[in-house]
Symmetry: C2
Subunit: 122 residues, 2 copies
Amino acid sequence: MRIGELALRTGVSERSLRYYEQQGLLAAERTAGGHREYPEAAVDRVIRIQELFAAGLRSKTIARLLPCLRDTDGGPSEIATPKLVDDLVAERDRIDRMIIELTSSREVLDEVIDAASRRTGS
Amino acid sequence: MRIGELALRTGVSERSLRYYEQQGLLAAERTAGGHREYPEAAVDRVIRIQELFAAGLRSKTIARLLPCLRDTDGGPSEIATPKLVDDLVAERDRIDRMIIELTSSREVLDEVIDAASRRTGS
DNA sequence: ATAGAATCTGACATTGATGTCAGGTTCAAC
DNA sequence: GTTGAACCTGACATCAATGTCAGATTCTAT
């Protein structure tokens, strides 16, 4: 598929898709005229990339991580280097802390929302 | 306490603490010479602010939200306006989605880490 | 062949919290 | 009072993904 459809199906802007390619996160074939042609699997990959971005990973880390995923390509995935594992463990811990913080903030919001709703009579 | 101690105890930089004040998130008394003097409760408030920032809220939203918290001051808290409630509900939903994404990304990282650990023999 | 939609590259702007630096003032201890 | 640490303000820089725009090229349908 071409970039417009991929953008539509993933909810990610064309601008970002081109950026992903530039960062080595997302490969694309090219038509004779130079237009990008994506395989069907690109949809899942883009969504995964977005999730990793949302988790606070930077593109460089994602670029190192992606080849180690088994379900990204059918092909044989690489094994994470020790340095990468260290980094990923740090990221995982950070994500764990973030989930805790998010949950805490969620409760704060809920409290305020509930207090106001009770006033209004829901 | 003064800004240096507050920074130390919260892990938030002095720069950020001044920024919080500028954004109306954190009040401070002033000594005769103009130095900031914080009450003990500032520690908790700063930590809460940090959590809300980590949850992706912008300072303007936090500024509107803080007066509605009951445990921030002992005093009577304000009730959230309908507009604010709308915004907070949107934020809460976004946080919920983010937690889901984070959990998903956490699993991805775990998988790669485990695969590498098994190779190394843990 | 041609028109209009889609895509290309490249450059510049934005966002918002935070880092950093400079030059000056205040505080606390001796 | 002096000195060094802590603090003040104000300005400018940073980061990284994304938005946006311009001008050119390609694709697709008629």
